[in-house]
Protein backbone atom coordinates (compact mmCIF):
# COMPACT_ATOMS: atom_id res chain seq x y z
CA UNK A 1 0.00 0.00 0.00
CA UNK A 2 1.13 3.49 -0.73
CA UNK A 3 1.98 5.66 2.20
CA UNK A 4 -0.54 8.47 2.65
CA UNK A 5 1.01 11.89 2.25
CA UNK A 6 -1.52 13.49 4.57
CA UNK A 7 -3.88 12.16 7.14
CA UNK A 8 -7.57 12.33 6.52
CA UNK A 9 -9.31 14.21 9.32
CA UNK A 10 -11.30 11.86 11.54
CA UNK A 11 -14.44 13.89 10.95
CA UNK A 12 -14.38 13.19 7.22
CA UNK A 13 -16.07 9.96 6.15
CA UNK A 14 -14.35 7.30 4.04
CA UNK A 15 -16.11 8.56 0.94
CA UNK A 16 -14.71 10.01 -2.21
CA UNK A 17 -15.77 13.61 -2.86
CA UNK A 18 -18.13 14.12 -5.76
CA UNK A 19 -16.64 17.51 -6.62
CA UNK A 20 -15.06 18.46 -9.96
CA UNK A 21 -11.28 18.82 -10.27
CA UNK A 22 -10.17 22.24 -9.02
CA UNK A 23 -13.38 22.81 -7.05
CA UNK A 24 -12.76 24.32 -3.64
CA UNK A 25 -15.68 22.61 -1.90
CA UNK A 26 -13.34 19.70 -1.05
CA UNK A 27 -10.69 21.93 0.51
CA UNK A 28 -13.33 23.69 2.58
CA UNK A 29 -14.78 20.37 3.77
CA UNK A 30 -11.33 19.28 4.91
CA UNK A 31 -10.79 22.50 6.86
CA UNK A 32 -14.13 22.18 8.62
CA UNK A 33 -13.34 18.56 9.47
CA UNK A 34 -9.90 19.47 10.82
CA UNK A 35 -11.45 22.13 13.04
CA UNK A 36 -14.02 19.64 14.34
CA UNK A 37 -11.19 17.21 15.12
CA UNK A 38 -9.06 19.84 16.83
CA UNK A 39 -11.93 21.06 18.98
CA UNK A 40 -12.79 17.42 19.77
CA UNK A 41 -16.45 17.94 18.99
CA UNK A 42 -17.04 15.23 16.39
CA UNK A 43 -19.30 13.22 18.70
CA UNK A 44 -21.44 16.20 19.62
CA UNK A 45 -21.80 17.91 16.26
CA UNK A 46 -24.87 17.95 14.02
CA UNK A 47 -24.59 19.24 10.47
CA UNK A 48 -27.05 20.54 7.92
CA UNK A 49 -26.18 20.24 4.24
CA UNK A 50 -27.78 22.49 1.64
CA UNK A 51 -29.20 21.86 -1.79
CA UNK A 52 -26.37 22.62 -4.17
CA UNK A 53 -23.20 20.81 -5.18
CA UNK A 54 -22.49 20.24 -1.49
CA UNK A 55 -25.79 18.43 -0.96
CA UNK A 56 -23.66 15.34 -0.25
CA UNK A 57 -21.82 17.07 2.56
CA UNK A 58 -24.11 15.23 4.99
CA UNK A 59 -22.39 12.04 3.83
CA UNK A 60 -18.87 13.45 3.64
CA UNK A 61 -18.74 14.46 7.28
CA UNK A 62 -18.61 11.68 9.83
CA UNK A 63 -21.13 13.36 12.10
CA UNK A 64 -24.92 13.18 12.44
CA UNK A 65 -26.39 15.06 9.52
CA UNK A 66 -29.29 15.95 7.30
CA UNK A 67 -30.10 17.87 4.11
CA UNK A 68 -32.33 20.94 4.38
CA UNK A 69 -34.69 22.16 1.69
CA UNK A 70 -32.95 24.66 -0.63
CA UNK A 71 -32.04 27.74 1.41
CA UNK A 72 -33.57 26.61 4.70
CA UNK A 73 -30.52 25.20 6.44
CA UNK A 74 -30.39 28.02 9.04
CA UNK A 75 -34.00 27.29 10.04
CA UNK A 76 -33.35 23.55 10.20
CA UNK A 77 -30.21 24.19 12.27
CA UNK A 78 -32.23 26.48 14.54
CA UNK A 79 -34.72 23.70 15.21
CA UNK A 80 -31.89 21.29 16.01
CA UNK A 81 -30.02 23.68 18.24
CA UNK A 82 -33.13 24.69 20.18
CA UNK A 83 -33.93 21.02 20.70
CA UNK A 84 -30.35 20.17 21.69
CA UNK A 85 -28.73 23.37 22.96
CA UNK A 86 -25.67 21.56 24.26
CA UNK A 87 -24.76 20.26 20.79
CA UNK A 88 -22.71 21.97 18.10
CA UNK A 89 -24.72 22.65 14.94
CA UNK A 90 -23.40 23.94 11.65
CA UNK A 91 -24.77 24.59 8.18
CA UNK A 92 -22.79 24.42 4.97
CA UNK A 93 -24.37 26.48 2.18
CA UNK A 94 -23.73 27.76 -1.32
CA UNK A 95 -24.40 31.27 -2.52
CA UNK A 96 -27.60 30.42 -4.38
CA UNK A 97 -28.81 28.55 -1.34
CA UNK A 98 -27.90 31.20 1.21
CA UNK A 99 -28.04 34.49 -0.67
CA UNK A 100 -31.02 33.96 -3.00
CA UNK A 101 -33.72 31.53 -1.89
CA UNK A 102 -32.55 31.43 1.73
CA UNK A 103 -31.96 35.14 2.35
CA UNK A 104 -34.67 35.45 4.98
CA UNK A 105 -33.54 32.41 6.96
CA UNK A 106 -29.89 33.46 7.17
CA UNK A 107 -30.67 37.04 8.17
CA UNK A 108 -33.08 36.00 10.90
CA UNK A 109 -30.90 33.20 12.24
CA UNK A 110 -28.05 35.72 12.47
CA UNK A 111 -30.26 38.37 13.99
CA UNK A 112 -31.62 36.01 16.63
CA UNK A 113 -28.04 35.26 17.53
CA UNK A 114 -28.81 31.61 16.96
CA UNK A 115 -25.93 29.66 18.44
CA UNK A 116 -25.00 27.93 15.21
CA UNK A 117 -22.20 28.27 12.68
CA UNK A 118 -22.57 28.72 8.93
CA UNK A 119 -19.94 27.95 6.32
CA UNK A 120 -20.95 30.00 3.31
CA UNK A 121 -19.33 28.98 0.03
CA UNK A 122 -19.48 31.79 -2.51
CA UNK A 123 -18.56 30.72 -6.05
CA UNK A 124 -20.61 33.41 -7.79
CA UNK A 125 -22.71 30.81 -9.59
CA UNK A 126 -25.27 28.04 -9.29
CA UNK A 127 -22.93 25.07 -9.60
CA UNK A 128 -25.23 22.14 -9.19
CA UNK A 129 -27.91 23.18 -11.65
CA UNK A 130 -25.41 23.87 -14.40
CA UNK A 131 -24.07 27.38 -14.11
CA UNK A 132 -26.98 29.78 -13.83
CA UNK A 133 -26.65 33.29 -12.45
CA UNK A 134 -26.42 33.61 -8.67
CA UNK A 135 -27.14 36.80 -6.73
CA UNK A 136 -23.36 36.89 -6.20
CA UNK A 137 -22.54 36.66 -9.92
CA UNK A 138 -20.26 39.54 -10.90
CA UNK A 139 -21.35 42.28 -13.30
CA UNK A 140 -20.49 41.33 -16.84
CA UNK A 141 -20.11 37.67 -15.92
CA UNK A 142 -21.67 35.27 -18.41
CA UNK A 143 -23.79 32.43 -17.06
CA UNK A 144 -26.44 30.28 -18.69
CA UNK A 145 -29.14 32.67 -17.47
CA UNK A 146 -27.12 35.83 -18.06
CA UNK A 147 -25.77 34.78 -21.45
CA UNK A 148 -24.90 38.35 -22.44
CA UNK A 149 -23.18 39.08 -19.16
CA UNK A 150 -24.86 40.25 -15.94
CA UNK A 151 -26.20 43.77 -16.30
CA UNK A 152 -27.06 45.92 -13.31
CA UNK A 153 -30.09 47.47 -15.05
CA UNK A 154 -31.84 44.14 -15.49
CA UNK A 155 -30.17 41.70 -13.07
CA UNK A 156 -29.20 43.99 -10.26
CA UNK A 157 -25.88 44.02 -8.46
CA UNK A 158 -23.76 41.30 -6.87
CA UNK A 159 -24.99 40.87 -3.32
CA UNK A 160 -22.52 41.25 -0.45
CA UNK A 161 -23.65 38.87 2.21
CA UNK A 162 -21.00 39.57 4.82
CA UNK A 163 -21.38 43.33 4.45
CA UNK A 164 -25.15 42.95 4.93
CA UNK A 165 -24.90 40.58 7.85
CA UNK A 166 -22.38 42.58 9.80
CA UNK A 167 -25.18 44.96 10.81
CA UNK A 168 -27.14 42.22 12.57
CA UNK A 169 -26.61 42.40 16.30
CA UNK A 170 -26.77 38.66 16.91
CA UNK A 171 -23.67 37.87 14.90
CA UNK A 172 -20.51 37.37 16.93
CA UNK A 173 -18.01 36.20 14.34
CA UNK A 174 -17.99 37.03 10.64
CA UNK A 175 -15.08 36.75 8.27
CA UNK A 176 -14.60 36.44 4.52
CA UNK A 177 -11.72 34.23 3.46
CA UNK A 178 -10.42 32.44 0.41
CA UNK A 179 -8.54 29.17 -0.01
CA UNK A 180 -6.61 29.95 -3.16
CA UNK A 181 -3.12 29.74 -1.66
CA UNK A 182 -1.56 27.75 1.20
CA UNK A 183 -1.31 30.89 3.36
CA UNK A 184 -4.96 31.68 2.75
CA UNK A 185 -5.92 28.12 3.59
CA UNK A 186 -4.25 28.52 6.98
CA UNK A 187 -6.12 31.79 7.58
CA UNK A 188 -9.38 30.26 6.43
CA UNK A 189 -8.98 27.41 8.87
CA UNK A 190 -8.27 29.84 11.70
CA UNK A 191 -11.47 31.73 10.80
CA UNK A 192 -13.55 28.54 10.75
CA UNK A 193 -12.06 27.54 14.07
CA UNK A 194 -12.92 30.86 15.63
CA UNK A 195 -16.46 30.62 14.30
CA UNK A 196 -16.89 27.22 15.94
CA UNK A 197 -15.34 28.47 19.16
CA UNK A 198 -17.84 31.33 19.17
CA UNK A 199 -20.60 28.74 19.13
CA UNK A 200 -18.91 26.54 21.69
CA UNK A 201 -18.75 29.50 24.02
CA UNK A 202 -22.46 30.11 23.44
CA UNK A 203 -21.83 33.65 22.23
CA UNK A 204 -24.16 33.77 19.23
CA UNK A 205 -24.24 33.31 15.50
CA UNK A 206 -21.04 32.89 13.48
CA UNK A 207 -20.41 32.72 9.76
CA UNK A 208 -17.38 32.31 7.52
CA UNK A 209 -17.79 33.25 3.88
CA UNK A 210 -15.34 31.36 1.70
CA UNK A 211 -14.67 32.57 -1.84
CA UNK A 212 -14.62 29.45 -3.96
CA UNK A 213 -14.11 28.25 -7.51
CA UNK A 214 -16.37 26.54 -9.97
CA UNK A 215 -14.04 25.62 -12.86
CA UNK A 216 -16.76 23.55 -14.53
CA UNK A 217 -19.29 26.34 -14.84
CA UNK A 218 -16.84 29.20 -15.10
CA UNK A 219 -15.43 27.42 -18.17
CA UNK A 220 -11.87 27.65 -16.86
CA UNK A 221 -9.28 25.14 -15.80
CA UNK A 222 -8.36 24.85 -12.12
CA UNK A 223 -5.37 27.23 -12.32
CA UNK A 224 -7.22 29.80 -14.42
CA UNK A 225 -10.03 29.59 -11.92
CA UNK A 226 -7.78 30.55 -9.04
CA UNK A 227 -6.41 33.46 -11.06
CA UNK A 228 -9.91 34.58 -11.97
CA UNK A 229 -10.97 34.38 -8.34
CA UNK A 230 -7.93 36.39 -7.22
CA UNK A 231 -8.35 39.05 -9.89
CA UNK A 232 -12.12 39.45 -9.94
CA UNK A 233 -13.88 37.98 -6.96
CA UNK A 234 -11.55 39.44 -4.37
CA UNK A 235 -12.14 42.91 -5.81
CA UNK A 236 -15.88 42.57 -5.50
CA UNK A 237 -15.72 40.65 -2.24
CA UNK A 238 -12.77 41.87 -0.18
CA UNK A 239 -11.24 39.42 2.26
CA UNK A 240 -11.36 40.41 5.91
CA UNK A 241 -12.88 40.18 9.36
CA UNK A 242 -16.25 41.95 9.61
CA UNK A 243 -17.28 41.08 13.14
CA UNK A 244 -15.23 39.64 15.96
CA UNK A 245 -16.84 39.61 19.39
CA UNK A 246 -14.99 36.43 20.32
CA UNK A 247 -11.72 38.07 21.18
CA UNK A 248 -8.50 36.24 21.90
CA UNK A 249 -8.96 32.49 21.81
CA UNK A 250 -5.56 31.49 23.17
Amino acid sequence: MEKATYKKPKSLAEKEFSYCPGCHHGIIHRLVAEVIDELEIQGKTLMVAPVGCSVFAYEFFDVDGTVAPHGRAPAVATGMKRAMPERMVFTYQGDGDLAAIGTAEIIHAANRGEKITTIFVNNAIYGMTGGQMAPTTLLGMKTTTSPYGRKAETEGFPIHVSELLKETAGIVYLERVSVSSPQEVIKAKAAIKKAFIAQKKGLGFSLVEVLSTCPTNWGLDPVESINWLNENMKKEYPIGVFVDKVGDIK
Partner: protein, 352 residues
Protein backbone atom coordinates in the same frame (compact mmCIF):
# COMPACT_ATOMS: atom_id res chain seq x y z
CA UNK B 1 -63.48 13.97 38.53
CA UNK B 2 -61.19 16.15 36.52
CA UNK B 3 -62.19 19.77 36.38
CA UNK B 4 -64.13 21.25 33.46
CA UNK B 5 -62.73 24.58 32.32
CA UNK B 6 -64.08 27.01 29.73
CA UNK B 7 -61.41 27.45 27.09
CA UNK B 8 -61.05 28.73 23.58
CA UNK B 9 -60.34 25.98 21.07
CA UNK B 10 -56.94 27.26 20.02
CA UNK B 11 -55.75 27.52 23.60
CA UNK B 12 -57.24 24.16 24.52
CA UNK B 13 -55.36 22.44 21.70
CA UNK B 14 -52.13 24.18 22.69
CA UNK B 15 -52.50 23.11 26.32
CA UNK B 16 -53.26 19.57 25.19
CA UNK B 17 -50.03 19.57 23.18
CA UNK B 18 -48.06 20.66 26.23
CA UNK B 19 -49.68 17.87 28.25
CA UNK B 20 -48.82 15.47 25.45
CA UNK B 21 -45.18 16.24 26.14
CA UNK B 22 -44.51 18.69 23.34
CA UNK B 23 -41.76 21.06 24.46
CA UNK B 24 -40.82 22.53 21.09
CA UNK B 25 -43.09 24.94 19.26
CA UNK B 26 -42.22 27.02 16.20
CA UNK B 27 -44.86 29.19 14.59
CA UNK B 28 -45.93 32.36 12.86
CA UNK B 29 -49.08 34.36 13.71
CA UNK B 30 -52.12 34.03 11.49
CA UNK B 31 -55.85 34.41 12.18
CA UNK B 32 -57.86 32.42 13.20
CA UNK B 33 -55.15 30.43 15.03
CA UNK B 34 -53.00 33.20 16.59
CA UNK B 35 -54.19 32.38 20.12
CA UNK B 36 -52.44 29.05 19.69
CA UNK B 37 -49.11 30.74 19.05
CA UNK B 38 -49.71 33.29 21.81
CA UNK B 39 -50.62 30.57 24.29
CA UNK B 40 -47.41 28.71 23.52
CA UNK B 41 -45.42 31.91 23.98
CA UNK B 42 -46.77 32.14 27.54
CA UNK B 43 -46.84 28.44 28.31
CA UNK B 44 -43.56 27.03 26.98
CA UNK B 45 -41.31 28.98 29.36
CA UNK B 46 -43.39 27.65 32.29
CA UNK B 47 -42.52 24.07 31.35
CA UNK B 48 -38.91 24.74 30.26
CA UNK B 49 -39.99 24.32 26.66
CA UNK B 50 -38.97 26.15 23.52
CA UNK B 51 -41.18 28.76 21.90
CA UNK B 52 -39.89 30.53 18.82
CA UNK B 53 -41.79 32.94 16.61
CA UNK B 54 -40.24 32.35 13.22
CA UNK B 55 -39.81 34.86 10.42
CA UNK B 56 -42.29 32.97 8.23
CA UNK B 57 -44.15 29.70 7.94
CA UNK B 58 -41.39 28.56 5.59
CA UNK B 59 -38.89 29.00 8.41
CA UNK B 60 -41.31 27.52 10.97
CA UNK B 61 -41.74 24.24 9.11
CA UNK B 62 -37.99 23.95 8.65
CA UNK B 63 -37.39 24.56 12.34
CA UNK B 64 -39.88 21.77 12.94
CA UNK B 65 -37.86 19.63 10.51
CA UNK B 66 -34.64 20.36 12.39
CA UNK B 67 -36.13 19.68 15.81
CA UNK B 68 -37.86 16.54 14.53
CA UNK B 69 -34.45 15.28 13.35
CA UNK B 70 -33.51 15.08 17.04
CA UNK B 71 -36.55 12.89 17.74
CA UNK B 72 -38.19 15.19 20.27
CA UNK B 73 -41.90 15.98 20.17
CA UNK B 74 -42.33 19.13 18.10
CA UNK B 75 -45.18 20.97 16.51
CA UNK B 76 -46.40 24.04 14.70
CA UNK B 77 -49.84 25.52 14.14
CA UNK B 78 -51.08 27.73 11.36
CA UNK B 79 -54.03 28.54 9.14
CA UNK B 80 -54.56 27.90 5.45
CA UNK B 81 -52.20 30.36 3.67
CA UNK B 82 -49.53 29.50 6.22
CA UNK B 83 -49.93 25.80 5.62
CA UNK B 84 -49.62 26.41 1.88
CA UNK B 85 -46.26 28.03 2.53
CA UNK B 86 -45.16 25.03 4.58
CA UNK B 87 -45.76 22.44 1.90
CA UNK B 88 -42.17 21.96 0.71
CA UNK B 89 -41.06 21.38 4.29
CA UNK B 90 -43.96 19.02 5.01
CA UNK B 91 -42.91 16.98 1.99
CA UNK B 92 -39.30 16.83 3.26
CA UNK B 93 -40.51 15.82 6.73
CA UNK B 94 -42.68 13.07 5.26
CA UNK B 95 -39.89 11.96 2.92
CA UNK B 96 -37.36 11.83 5.73
CA UNK B 97 -39.88 9.95 7.91
CA UNK B 98 -39.84 12.39 10.78
CA UNK B 99 -42.45 12.61 13.53
CA UNK B 100 -44.08 16.03 13.84
CA UNK B 101 -47.52 17.46 14.49
CA UNK B 102 -49.23 20.20 12.49
CA UNK B 103 -52.42 22.01 13.38
CA UNK B 104 -54.27 23.76 10.56
CA UNK B 105 -57.10 25.98 11.76
CA UNK B 106 -58.64 26.33 8.33
CA UNK B 107 -60.03 29.63 7.06
CA UNK B 108 -61.80 30.67 3.88
CA UNK B 109 -59.76 30.55 0.69
CA UNK B 110 -58.38 30.51 -1.93
CA UNK B 111 -55.76 33.23 -1.80
CA UNK B 112 -55.98 35.55 1.13
CA UNK B 113 -59.63 34.47 1.40
CA UNK B 114 -61.01 35.52 4.75
CA UNK B 115 -60.65 34.59 8.40
CA UNK B 116 -63.91 32.69 8.81
CA UNK B 117 -64.16 28.92 9.32
CA UNK B 118 -63.83 26.71 6.25
CA UNK B 119 -63.09 23.15 5.20
CA UNK B 120 -61.60 23.97 1.85
CA UNK B 121 -58.14 22.56 2.64
CA UNK B 122 -59.32 18.94 2.57
CA UNK B 123 -57.61 18.16 -0.73
CA UNK B 124 -54.39 19.84 0.37
CA UNK B 125 -54.36 17.94 3.66
CA UNK B 126 -55.33 14.49 2.49
CA UNK B 127 -54.05 14.26 -1.06
CA UNK B 128 -50.49 15.47 -0.64
CA UNK B 129 -50.35 19.24 -0.71
CA UNK B 130 -46.62 19.21 -1.29
CA UNK B 131 -44.70 17.31 -3.95
CA UNK B 132 -43.99 13.61 -4.12
CA UNK B 133 -45.55 10.37 -2.94
CA UNK B 134 -46.47 10.96 0.66
CA UNK B 135 -49.28 11.20 3.16
CA UNK B 136 -49.99 12.87 6.43
CA UNK B 137 -52.20 11.21 8.97
CA UNK B 138 -55.08 13.70 9.12
CA UNK B 139 -57.32 13.85 12.17
CA UNK B 140 -60.45 16.00 12.17
CA UNK B 141 -61.90 16.66 15.62
CA UNK B 142 -65.59 17.58 15.85
CA UNK B 143 -65.39 19.41 19.16
CA UNK B 144 -62.83 21.11 21.36
CA UNK B 145 -62.90 18.20 23.79
CA UNK B 146 -62.23 15.79 20.96
CA UNK B 147 -59.39 17.98 19.70
CA UNK B 148 -57.88 17.91 23.18
CA UNK B 149 -58.26 14.16 23.43
CA UNK B 150 -56.83 13.59 19.95
CA UNK B 151 -53.73 15.71 20.55
CA UNK B 152 -51.80 13.03 22.40
CA UNK B 153 -52.99 10.52 19.79
CA UNK B 154 -51.54 12.78 17.13
CA UNK B 155 -48.12 12.81 18.79
CA UNK B 156 -48.26 9.09 19.49
CA UNK B 157 -49.11 8.26 15.88
CA UNK B 158 -46.31 10.53 14.71
CA UNK B 159 -43.85 8.77 17.02
CA UNK B 160 -45.05 5.24 16.29
CA UNK B 161 -45.02 5.49 12.53
CA UNK B 162 -42.48 8.30 12.07
CA UNK B 163 -44.90 10.33 9.97
CA UNK B 164 -46.16 13.88 10.18
CA UNK B 165 -49.65 14.11 11.63
CA UNK B 166 -52.09 16.90 10.89
CA UNK B 167 -54.86 18.03 13.16
CA UNK B 168 -57.33 19.55 10.73
CA UNK B 169 -59.47 22.05 12.60
CA UNK B 170 -61.34 25.09 11.34
CA UNK B 171 -61.90 28.66 12.45
CA UNK B 172 -64.99 27.65 14.40
CA UNK B 173 -63.15 25.08 16.50
CA UNK B 174 -60.26 27.46 17.01
CA UNK B 175 -62.33 30.44 18.07
CA UNK B 176 -65.24 29.11 20.12
CA UNK B 177 -65.19 28.40 23.84
CA UNK B 178 -66.36 25.19 25.44
CA UNK B 179 -65.99 23.44 28.76
CA UNK B 180 -63.09 21.03 28.47
CA UNK B 181 -61.52 18.37 30.65
CA UNK B 182 -57.77 18.19 30.14
CA UNK B 183 -55.91 14.89 30.27
CA UNK B 184 -53.05 14.31 32.70
CA UNK B 185 -49.51 15.15 31.63
CA UNK B 186 -48.08 12.32 29.57
CA UNK B 187 -44.93 10.68 30.86
CA UNK B 188 -42.76 10.27 27.82
CA UNK B 189 -40.34 7.70 29.13
CA UNK B 190 -39.69 5.41 26.23
CA UNK B 191 -42.72 6.39 24.15
CA UNK B 192 -40.62 8.35 21.76
CA UNK B 193 -37.28 6.67 22.08
CA UNK B 194 -35.85 7.53 18.70
CA UNK B 195 -32.24 6.90 19.66
CA UNK B 196 -31.81 4.37 16.83
CA UNK B 197 -32.03 7.02 14.14
CA UNK B 198 -32.26 10.53 15.64
CA UNK B 199 -29.55 13.14 15.16
CA UNK B 200 -28.22 13.82 18.64
CA UNK B 201 -24.48 13.65 18.10
CA UNK B 202 -22.63 10.38 17.55
CA UNK B 203 -20.83 10.22 20.92
CA UNK B 204 -18.74 7.47 19.37
CA UNK B 205 -21.47 5.52 17.57
CA UNK B 206 -21.87 5.41 13.77
CA UNK B 207 -23.26 8.67 12.39
CA UNK B 208 -27.00 8.89 11.73
CA UNK B 209 -28.21 10.51 8.53
CA UNK B 210 -31.75 11.78 8.04
CA UNK B 211 -32.78 12.79 4.54
CA UNK B 212 -35.55 12.60 2.00
CA UNK B 213 -32.87 12.30 -0.65
CA UNK B 214 -31.21 9.65 -2.76
CA UNK B 215 -29.70 10.52 -6.12
CA UNK B 216 -30.05 6.89 -7.24
CA UNK B 217 -33.57 6.15 -8.52
CA UNK B 218 -33.29 2.48 -7.62
CA UNK B 219 -32.61 3.34 -3.99
CA UNK B 220 -35.13 6.19 -3.92
CA UNK B 221 -37.79 3.81 -5.15
CA UNK B 222 -36.84 1.41 -2.36
CA UNK B 223 -37.04 4.22 0.15
CA UNK B 224 -40.47 5.30 -1.09
CA UNK B 225 -41.65 1.70 -1.10
CA UNK B 226 -40.62 1.32 2.53
CA UNK B 227 -42.55 4.48 3.41
CA UNK B 228 -45.56 3.15 1.59
CA UNK B 229 -45.45 -0.06 3.58
CA UNK B 230 -45.82 2.13 6.65
CA UNK B 231 -48.75 3.91 5.00
CA UNK B 232 -50.36 0.52 4.33
CA UNK B 233 -50.02 -0.40 7.99
CA UNK B 234 -51.57 2.93 8.97
CA UNK B 235 -54.43 2.30 6.54
CA UNK B 236 -55.12 -1.04 8.16
CA UNK B 237 -54.89 0.11 11.78
CA UNK B 238 -55.66 3.77 12.19
CA UNK B 239 -59.11 4.35 10.71
CA UNK B 240 -61.22 6.51 13.00
CA UNK B 241 -64.87 7.51 12.59
CA UNK B 242 -68.10 7.92 14.50
CA UNK B 243 -71.67 7.02 13.60
CA UNK B 244 -75.09 8.00 14.95
CA UNK B 245 -78.52 6.49 14.32
CA UNK B 246 -77.31 4.55 11.33
CA UNK B 247 -78.91 1.20 12.01
CA UNK B 248 -82.47 1.90 10.86
CA UNK B 249 -81.63 4.96 8.74
CA UNK B 250 -82.90 5.43 5.19
CA UNK B 251 -80.51 8.28 4.50
CA UNK B 252 -76.96 9.05 5.59
CA UNK B 253 -75.42 12.41 6.24
CA UNK B 254 -71.63 12.56 6.01
CA UNK B 255 -69.54 15.39 7.38
CA UNK B 256 -66.34 15.89 9.35
CA UNK B 257 -65.09 18.31 11.98
CA UNK B 258 -67.38 21.23 12.78
CA UNK B 259 -69.72 20.16 9.99
CA UNK B 260 -70.00 16.67 11.42
CA UNK B 261 -71.12 18.19 14.67
CA UNK B 262 -73.73 20.40 12.96
CA UNK B 263 -75.01 17.32 11.13
CA UNK B 264 -75.57 15.75 14.54
CA UNK B 265 -78.18 18.45 15.18
CA UNK B 266 -79.72 17.88 11.77
CA UNK B 267 -80.12 14.18 12.55
CA UNK B 268 -81.97 15.07 15.76
CA UNK B 269 -84.27 17.53 13.96
CA UNK B 270 -85.07 14.99 11.26
CA UNK B 271 -85.66 12.16 13.70
CA UNK B 272 -88.16 14.32 15.61
CA UNK B 273 -90.12 14.62 12.37
CA UNK B 274 -89.96 10.91 11.75
CA UNK B 275 -87.33 11.06 9.02
CA UNK B 276 -84.88 8.23 9.48
CA UNK B 277 -81.49 9.80 9.02
CA UNK B 278 -78.12 8.68 10.36
CA UNK B 279 -74.72 10.29 10.57
CA UNK B 280 -71.31 9.09 9.48
CA UNK B 281 -68.49 11.31 10.70
CA UNK B 282 -64.97 10.44 9.52
CA UNK B 283 -62.40 11.39 12.15
CA UNK B 284 -59.33 10.16 10.30
CA UNK B 285 -59.52 11.86 6.91
CA UNK B 286 -56.35 10.08 5.92
CA UNK B 287 -56.60 7.17 6.16
CA UNK B 288 -60.20 7.65 5.00
CA UNK B 289 -62.75 5.09 6.25
CA UNK B 290 -63.64 3.88 2.75
CA UNK B 291 -64.70 0.35 3.66
CA UNK B 292 -66.47 1.38 6.84
CA UNK B 293 -68.53 3.98 5.01
CA UNK B 294 -69.31 1.52 2.24
CA UNK B 295 -70.65 -0.92 4.83
CA UNK B 296 -72.59 1.82 6.61
CA UNK B 297 -74.17 2.93 3.34
CA UNK B 298 -75.39 -0.52 2.37
CA UNK B 299 -79.12 -0.56 1.70
CA UNK B 300 -79.61 3.15 2.31
CA UNK B 301 -81.51 5.30 -0.18
CA UNK B 302 -78.98 8.06 -0.56
CA UNK B 303 -76.13 9.77 1.11
CA UNK B 304 -75.63 13.53 1.47
CA UNK B 305 -72.22 14.99 2.10
CA UNK B 306 -72.11 18.43 3.70
CA UNK B 307 -68.92 20.47 3.76
CA UNK B 308 -67.80 24.03 4.31
CA UNK B 309 -66.36 23.97 0.79
CA UNK B 310 -67.58 23.53 -2.78
CA UNK B 311 -67.11 19.78 -2.42
CA UNK B 312 -63.88 18.01 -1.62
CA UNK B 313 -64.43 15.08 0.77
CA UNK B 314 -67.47 14.19 -1.34
CA UNK B 315 -65.03 12.65 -3.84
CA UNK B 316 -63.80 10.18 -1.21
CA UNK B 317 -67.38 9.41 -0.24
CA UNK B 318 -68.15 8.59 -3.88
CA UNK B 319 -65.07 6.36 -3.98
CA UNK B 320 -66.29 4.62 -0.83
CA UNK B 321 -69.78 3.74 -1.95
CA UNK B 322 -68.72 2.83 -5.48
CA UNK B 323 -71.99 3.91 -7.05
CA UNK B 324 -74.10 1.71 -4.77
CA UNK B 325 -76.33 4.67 -3.90
CA UNK B 326 -76.72 8.30 -4.99
CA UNK B 327 -74.28 10.72 -3.33
CA UNK B 328 -75.55 14.28 -3.01
CA UNK B 329 -73.56 17.27 -1.94
CA UNK B 330 -74.44 20.41 -0.05
CA UNK B 331 -71.82 23.01 0.80
CA UNK B 332 -71.19 26.64 1.66
CA UNK B 333 -67.87 28.25 1.00
CA UNK B 334 -65.83 31.37 1.65
CA UNK B 335 -66.25 31.13 5.40
CA UNK B 336 -70.02 30.54 5.42
CA UNK B 337 -71.19 27.81 7.78
CA UNK B 338 -74.31 25.85 6.85
CA UNK B 339 -76.93 26.00 9.63
CA UNK B 340 -78.81 22.91 10.79
CA UNK B 341 -81.99 24.46 9.38
CA UNK B 342 -80.65 24.93 5.92
CA UNK B 343 -79.16 21.44 5.80
CA UNK B 344 -82.45 20.03 7.04
CA UNK B 345 -84.35 21.86 4.31
CA UNK B 346 -81.94 20.49 1.73
CA UNK B 347 -82.47 17.00 3.09
CA UNK B 348 -86.25 17.36 2.86
CA UNK B 349 -85.91 18.67 -0.69
CA UNK B 350 -83.78 15.69 -1.68
CA UNK B 351 -86.20 13.21 -0.15
CA UNK B 352 -88.81 14.99 -2.28
Amino acid sequence: MAERIMVKGNEAMAEAAVRAGCRLYFGYPITPQSEFTEYMARRMPEVDGVFLQSESEVAAVNMVYGAACTGHRVMTSTSSPGFSLMQEGVSYIAGAMLPAVFVNVVRGGPGLGDIQPAQSDYFQSTKGGGHGDYHLIVLAPGSIQEAVDLMETAFRLADNYRVPVMMLADGMLGQMMEPVVFPEYVKLDGINDHSSWALRGTDGREPHKVTSFDIDPVRLEEMNTETHKVYEEIRSKEIRFETHDLEDADYILVGYGTMGRILGSVVKMARKQGIKVGLFRPISLWPFPYDELKKAAKGKRFCTVVEMSTGQMVEDVRLSVEGALPVHFYGRTGGMVPTPDEVFKELVRLIG
